[in-house]
Each structure stands twice: as C-alpha cells, then as structure tokens.
Amino acid sequence: MAEAILEVRGLRKSFGALAATDGVNLDLREGETHAIIGPNGAGKTTLISQLAGNLRPDGGSIFFAGEDVTRLSAPQRAQRGFARSFQITSVYRDFSALDNVALAVQAHAGHSFRFWRPARAERALRDPARAVLEEVGLAARAGVLAANLAHGEQRQLEVAMALATRPRLLLLDEPVAGMGQEESQRMVRFLAGLKGRRSILLVEHDMDAVFTLADRISVLVYGRIIASGAPAEVRANPEVRRAYLGEEA
C-alpha cells in the first residue's frame, strides 16, 4: 500500500454550538482519489477549508507528507503542493484565461519581486500555462477574459490553475456543481484521466461522478465520518443508505 500523503487526525471545528467538524480522521494515499460525500450541511466545505488552510481548526492535526501543516496559512500550504478549487468558481475574472494559468505558474516560480520585465512576455510563464490550457481543452479560449467564459469553462480554468502549480494534492470542492450534463461528463472524463497520477481529495454531490472517480469514499454526516471504504462497501452500508443514499434515490 502506498504511504499516506495526507493524514487528518481528530480534526474539530465548531461554530457556536454547532460542531461542523467533529473529530474527523481521514487519510489520502499517494495517487489515490478519495471522495467525501454527505448531505447538505454535513460540513464538507468546512472540512476542505480547514485542509486548504482558509479556516483554522479548533483541535486536531493535519499532516502532509509527514509534516504537521495544521498551523500553516493557505499560501504556505499552496507552496508545499496543495491546490484547491472552490465550490463557487474562483478565478481572476478580469484577466484572460491564459493570464489566470500563467499567474498560477508564477506563484510557484520563486518570489515575484521582479519589477521591470513584462511578465506577459516571459516564455517561462506563458509556455507551461499554454500547455496546461491545452491539457484541459481550453487552448482555443486562451485569450478570452475569464469573466466571459461559460460557467463550465470557468470550472475547467480553475482546475487548470490548480494543475499549473504542479500540485501534490488536489482539493476539489464540487468540481461539477452547476454544470450541464455534457459539461459535467467532460469534466469527469478529464478528472478520470488524472487518476493514479494525482492525489485527489474530492467533495462532490453528483453520485455518478463520485462512483466513477473515487477509489475510496468517506461519508460525512453532521461533522462525523460514519463510513469509509471502497465504493461498493459504502454503497452497501446500511447506515449510509439510511443517512444519505436513501434520500438521494
């Protein structure tokens, strides 16, 4: 078994009396796709925000490749290889698609205290960015302002930005949310193509996407993981069926 790249131990986060994350243990092996599912309000986005470093947990720890990153900020984690997509698409709307990805490349090309050379003329930033746009199928839209891209294209762009940082861990918060049938299938096919090459932690509502992509599924209900295992096991788990899948069917 490959070693765990991400290990979460006893993670806790409360908002007032509400325990949004209630002692979560979780791990992600190198190259694995691990999906977190759960009904609305289960605390999925709260969990991913703590993993990405946007939200400070009340207790517990997060280890990344053996290092305790619990206290590190989001940019510090990004520098160590975390990449995140947001539930609500988050791109630089007033920059072109290519600029967006080039900025992601730049973020991982040393410090940016370079004041004189036009960054848009730097092949060291533009060429890798073009290659990633090609990979996600947005090459033809490179010059388009991100705000003018279709919703599905913006989601693709977000994934492209994540990949451009050459991440060791992808945190994807509902990557197919709000997409049409066709767009969503295209995204799932694309993510399936990353399987095995990337370590992916995926939060998703779309069950087709989850069962297509996940090597392992954990079910989060009221801040606790009630079941974890291979897709077939989780599907068969009576507690899960009662808490979640039953409602969906």
Partner: protein, 312 residues
C-alpha cells in the same frame, strides 16, 4: 502603433508646446498652471499604483506631498540648498513614512484601511502645525529653490516646466513597467481575487506593502516639486481634502490605466481654474460636475481614449 499611442503622443507634444505657446501669447501664467497640474499628475500616478492596480483605497496620500515638501523646506531653512540631497531625502523619507504607515494599514481592508491612512496623515498634518520653528500653521517660504550643481535652474519657469514634464513621463513609464511585471501582476491579481491568490500560493501582504512604499516615494518626489513650484511649504500640503483631490483625479481619469491619473489631474485642476475665474462660488458648480462625471464616465476619462495597451 495603435490609435491610443498616437493620441497619447499628441498629448505629450501638446504639453511640450505649452511654454512656447504661452510665451508667444504673452500669457506666462499658463506655464505655471500646467506645471502645477503636472506635479499633481505625478502624485496621482503614484496613488494609481496602489489604488487603481492594488485596490488599496489610501485616503492619506497627501502625507507624502508634505513629507517631500518639508524635506526640501527644512534643508533650505538651515541653508542647505543642494537639490540632489534635498530630493533624495524627500524620496527616502517618504518611503520610510510609507513603510511605517503601510506596515500597519496594509493588513486591514476596506473602511479600516481608509480610516488608518487618513488618521496617519492627520497626525503628520498636526505635527507640521505644531512645528513653530518652521512656521507652524502658516508654513514657511522657500527663499532659495533646490540647486542642481548649475545643471538646471528652477527659477527659470520654462526649464522647471520641462523638468516636471520629463519627470511626469518617467513616472508614468515606471508605473507602466511595474504593473506589467511579475510584481505588478501579483498586485493586480490580489485586487481581482484575494482568495484565489492565497489558494494559488501568493501572500499578497508583502507585495502590497512594497507597492505602498513605492507609491509613497514617488509622491515624495511630487512634494519636493510642489515645494519648489509654490516656493512655499505649509501643513496645507497634507490637508485631508488634498488627499481627496488626488484620489478624485485617479478616479475621474480612470483607475488602473496608465494615462488616467494625468487626465484626471488636468480635468480637475483646469476646470477648477476656469470656474474660479468666473465666480468665487466655483465649488458649487464643480461639485455637481464631479458627481456627473463619475456617473457618466464609469471607466474614467481614459475610457474615452481609443482602446489599446494591456494595462486597461
């Protein structure tokens, strides 16, 4: 060359022709007026770096006009007229003051940032008022202008005019290079979407602080110029209405555009001059004009120019 470049080149040619035209027309007053406008255009260009490109709504930018002006004035008060020294200290002191103000204020956002920058500038304003030795509230005259080893004579209005023009062009070019460099793109990206910037691995604070210091330094130079232009230094350099005026120039001209601040400075100060010639109640007319201009030129005066460049 695109149409925008042609229009801007024509504008520069026009500025270069002002002293000749004013002299021929027997109206040297206009050399003085346009020189003053260009000094403010430099101040506005420096504010544009942090306001237009960085999204930092500094409501205290006049502080650096004051620091730059007093640097020149205090040296002159003690009989030191060397311009190289005076102006270097004006720039360095402004950068230092910006570093202190920025280190505290840049961590905050929105209304807090506005209030902290305003508060620091008010402190400097009252500090200047309290300096009885340097004229207190009334300020002091600059009896001898900055001396540049005989290279340029600031008492010659035309020579001084061209110096300010060259410095203005230099500052606009400098800001243009900055905002298109890696540094500038980080600054602009953080304004566009801070959460995305952090998730992708940028820590915006340090970049914003450096931009804040650069803007302060450039505005310090404008302060040194203003002191020589008016041959007078007073706390009024730092009045909060002055900060508001500089901010208004940037907004009117077009935030986050290269020519915007200069256009805004020209529009505001020339209209002010024109109205003041008609009536002493000119502010009653200027106010509504400003409101209308913001309503109708959403992208500022620069938005009226032909499209072009990648700084828009």
């Amino acid at each position: 060359m695109n149409a925008r470049v042609v229009v801007l080149a024509a504008g520069v040619a026009l500025l270069a022709g002002v002293p000749l035209a004013a002299t021929l027309a027997g109206q040297p007053y206009y050399i003085d007026l346009i020189r003053r406008v260009m000094v403010f255009a430099i101040a506005a260009a420096s504010l544009n770096l942090i306001l237009g490109y960085g999204g930092l709504v500094s409501f205290g930018h006049a502080a650096y006009l004051g620091v730059g002006g007093y640097a020149v004035g205090i040296f002159a008060f003690y009989g030191v007229h060397n311009g190289w020294l005076q102006w270097s200290v004006a720039i360095a002191a402004s950068a230092l003051v910006a570093l202190v103000i920025g280190a505290i204020s840049v961590r905050t956002r929105g209304i807090y940032f506005i209030m902290i920058t305003l508060a620091f500038t008010q402190m400097l304003y009252f500090l200047a008022v309290s300096l009885e030795e340097y004229g207190g509230d009334d300020g002091m005259r600059l009896k001898v202008k900055s001396q540049f080893s005989g290279l340029i004579d600031l008492d010659n209005p035309v020579a001084f005019y061209y110096l300010v023009l060259v410095l203005l062009l230099g500052v606009v070019y400098l800001v243009h290079r900055l905002v298109n460099s890696r540094f500038g793109l980080v600054l602009r990206a953080a304004k566009s979407n801070e959460a995305r910037s952090r998730a992708v691995g940028f820590s915006p604070y340090a970049y914003r602080l450096v931009a804040f210091v650069i803007a302060g330094a450039i505005c310090g130079l404008a302060g040194a110029l203003l002191a020589n232009h008016t041959a007078y230094i007073a706390p009024a350099f730092m009045e909060w209405t002055r900060s508001g005026e500089i901010m208004f120039m940037v907004i009117l001209g077009g935030m986050g555009t290269a020519p915007g601040p200069a256009l805004g400075a020209f529009a505001l100060l020339l209209v002010e001059d024109l109205l003041a010639g008609w009536t002493q109640h000119w502010q009653v007319i200027l106010g509504p004009l400003l409101i209308m201009s913001v309503l109708f030129f959403r992208r500022g005066l620069a938005g009226l120019l032909p499209r072009g460049g990648d700084d828009g």
